[in-house]
Amino acid sequence: MSDYNAIELMICVAARLLEDGSTVGVGTGAPCAAAMLAQRTNAPNLLITFEAGGIAPQLPSMPISVGDSRTFYRGLMATSMSDILETCQRGLVDYTFLGGAQIDAYGNINSTVIGDYHKPKVRFPGSGGANDFASFCWHTLVITQHDIRRFVKKLDFLTTPGYLNGPGAREKAGLPENSGPLKIITDLAVMGFDETTKRMRVESLHSGVTFEKVQENTEFELLKSPEITDTEPPQDEELRILREEVDPFRYVIGR
């Protein structure tokens, strides 16, 4: 088995979640790399969209912006932001990939501020299209580093909805039915959500990582899946495609 780094592992795990023929709204960086890898492995008919208006590009390289010209290079359509997000709102987009500064046990995400909203310690960009994608797409996937400042009991600001405060909360708030976070992929483990409580649970552990280690790096109490498996490590072929075709200049995997 080849050597690989944490970000390569996360991208490979994320790519495998995307089925052939499904649709995904992605941003730049690791999510885009995962979608590109999926397209070259298990999901050749994956339809990739970008919030600024790009539909199904044949990406010649990693985009720098979700609105740069690569995001519709040899695409099927170059449209508007509303068209993309309304396609999500109509229920045609299966997955979205997000990141964020903080995430809680229900998969809610903060990408707005650390500290007081009106005079923040740190101001982050805000929702961008994240709240839209996570409200509208059927499944939200998150790729993020795992540490205790990120996996918190209480968010400083709830930018983007996960399961809000538990079962039924999304529907009660008015969000589309049967949508919400599906998997959280970190450098330590893959987490899903308990069906009854909608709280985060550990489903698979990466090589050499114990449940205790994941818990130590998480401020809230993690649940355990009935069967915790070992994360399937990246295959040589996945790594080759990722390194040679998807990100040859190591913009994402070199971080």
Binding site: I64, D68, A78, P120, S127, G129, S135, F136, F157, T159
Partner: protein, 334 residues
């Protein structure tokens, strides 16, 4: 009984469609030549206190020349629709230094970041100081707000933002759907005073073509009371009439047409030139130190008369040739 909430953020602009209709009624609809220098367009159509819309997508197809000119003319107390504003936000917040306030209020969907390039230190300093009044939204919410305005209606219902602090810090309101009883978010129409949009082609009257994604610019142009177009090139009206389906913005929305070749630089212009990543990094680095940033702004903006001189300082035609090769994926020379 379903409890309905309202956001607590400030509503900066009046969403009333009849006020907008009275304004639009007086707007010039005839074909008049609107070609003028950027300097004149900004001086004539951007007033202190105005609320701005910035076209394109942050560092892609942005009206750099108009944004720089707003800095040079030291406009004050402007509002902004921060709809994935990245390098455009960086340019405008450069006017918030030494106690001066170019921006005083911002509807936020995406600010202070430059996507994969990282966060702007200066924009963060400005936002973290609390000197700018803000209201929180999402990209789709602001796109809907332009659409409501472009449609001449006071709001558009949608299903985003619900249940979050993004909603709580916005000026949106929850409503019940009269047909399905579902809870929806009502997004109020946003009529900017003036918007700055860079396009590929325009005739002298302001009939514009955009190649590639339109982002929200079709609606932004229709929603705005005044529109300044910067264009890569001016084309003939015959050309427009030969392919009317390619017109994205009609002339009756437009107040000024400024011919600015390479006008999205250092941003990307689809099919024309890629973004100048080295210059964007230089800009981000300069912001780390306030004194250094002041010198940087003097060199590139305040001490040059116009965008053409800025482009020259950044490498001129040679630089553009390099960025064109990148955009068009031309084989690299050894």
């Amino acid at each position: 009984m379903t409890e309905l909430f309202s956001g607590t953020g400030p509503l900066f602009m009046n969403p009333d469609p009849d006020d907008a209709r009275s304004f639009f009624k007086k707007k010039e609809k005839a074909l008049v030549n609107k070609v003028m220098p950027v300097k004149e367009a900004v001086s004539k159509f951007v007033k202190d206190g105005d609320y701005l819309g910035s076209g394109g997508f942050g560092s892609n197809r942005i009206a750099t020349a108009a944004l720089h000119e707003i800095l040079r003319q030291k406009k004050r107390n402007l509002g902004l629709a921060g709809h994935t504003t990245t390098h455009d936000f960086q340019i405008l917040t450069a006017g918030n230094m030494d106690g001066e306030k170019l921006l005083s209020r911002v509807d936020v969907a995406y600010i202070v970041g430059l996507e994969a390039r990282g966060l702007s230190p200066h924009a963060r300093r400005v936002m973290q100081s609390g000197e700018i009044e803000i209201c929180e939204w999402t990209n789709y919410a602001i796109a809907c707000r332009f659409r409501a305005a472009a449609s001449g209606i006071p709001f558009i219902p949608a299903r985003n933002m619900l249940g979050t602090d993004t909603f709580f810090q916005s000026a949106a309101k929850e409503i019940l759907c009269p047909f399905t009883d579902r809870k929806l978010v009502a997004l109020p129409a946003l009529y900017p005073d003036v918007s700055l949009i860079h396009v590929h082609e325009s005739d002298v009257y302001g009939n514009c073509r955009i190649n590639g994604i339109t982002v929200a610019d079709g609606d932004l142009a229709r929603a705005s009371k005044r529109v300044i177009i910067t264009t890569e090139k001016i084309i003939s009206n015959d050309d427009i009439r030969s392919k009317p389906w390619a017109t994205i913005i009609p002339s009756y929305c437009v107040d000024a047409v400024c011919e600015v070749p390479y006008g999205s630089y250092p941003g990307n212009m689809p099919g024309e030139y890629f973004s100048d990543e080295a210059h964007l990094v230089e800009w981000l680095r300069a912001e780390n130190d306030v004194e250094k940033f002041r010198q940087f702004l003097d060199k590139y903006i305040y001490d040059v008369p116009d965008f053409e001189h800025y482009l020259e300082l950044c490498g001129g035609v040679e630089k553009i040739k390099e960025l064109r090769a990148q955009e068009l994926l031309l084989p690299r020379k050894e």
